[in-house]
Symmetry: C2
Subunit: 152 residues, 2 copies
DNA sequence: TGGCAAATGAAAACCGTTTTCACTACTAAA
DNA sequence: TTTAGTAGTGAAAACGGTTTTCATTTGCCA
């Protein structure tokens, strides 16, 4: 249920794209079988290497936007300038451990924030609609790979 | 303690900027008296409207990078394409309620994640170094401003 | 089957951020 | 105090992910 603003001016999303277009289906397929977070470009190259006439990058972006709107996909932003996406399994909601070195990410098995929302709502009169929680650090391998000396 | 990757390749930050330069001081002053999150451009225009020879945008960016490195400022990314910054009061760590309509943000008075870090560390063998938690929704005013009809 | 709205792709525009490079301001040594 | 040498700065260009534009194609349906 993470919320994702858009770069530019985000015109309220008109008629189009409320249906699952052909391109969007292909994008969703890629995300369906990918366990890690994927950027638009990741998805685009995945498709290009397996389809004979893959959707263009533009279509991938547009599809992702629709899929997010449809609630089938969630966008995550680590602040490194590249947005990542992943499938949302219905009723599932979770966060990630993101390794700062190798950038791999692991799902946390449940949402840590849900219980807090109610009290925030009461205390701040703030209507909670979504949240981003990402935890950064070092995965096990990268901890080991970092020799005591190199521990910048 | 939010973590902030950089856009490009982030050359490990050489000698320079480990001291508080003149430009950085001005940037810090702006953040010091601002209670909301500010983007680089915000800071730049603030300075331009009050100094006779204000630091350029480049310097603002460079200063912010240094200040983050020095731990005096933290960067926050909502995924709308614009990074925001705020002063870090020593020992303080908190998160924000961000209104999706008017984009104002309010501090939560404490960190909601700290208690979790230890158990994450144990369970996932993941060395936690930082996290991002931002909660999105509607502030009180914007809730009211949204007439039942206009509730897109 | 003809007409239209939606979908698509290529290329251009965007825009926040970073890099480059020439120049200036400090600072420390002589 | 002059003289390096180093760090800081600004303007402009480069970058790169994302969005827009616009001409074309696709697919639905009356």
């Amino acid at each position: 249920m993470s919320v994702q603003g858009s770069h530019g001016h985000s015109h309220s999303k008109s008629p189009q794209s409320l249906r699952l277009t052909k391109g969007a289906k292909k994008v969703l397929e890629v995300l369906e079988r990918t366990d890690e977070l994927s950027s638009a470009q990741d998805i685009h190259s995945a498709l290009r290497s397996e389809e004979d006439s893959p959707p263009g990058l533009t279509t991938v972006y547009r599809s992702l936007e629709s899929l997010v709107q449809l609630g089938l996909v969630q966008a995550v932003d680590f602040g490194d300038g590249e947005r990542r996406y992943e499938m949302v399994k219905p009723g599932e909601h979770h966060h990630h451990l993101v390794c700062e070195v190798c950038r791999t990410s692991v799902h946390l098995d449940q949402c840590l924030v849900q219980q807090l929302e109610e009290s925030i709502q009461a205390k701040y009169k703030f209507e909670v609609r979504g949240h981003i929680l990402e935890i950064f650090g070092l995965c096990e391998q990268c901890q080991q790979a970092m020799t005591p000396a190199g521990k910048k």
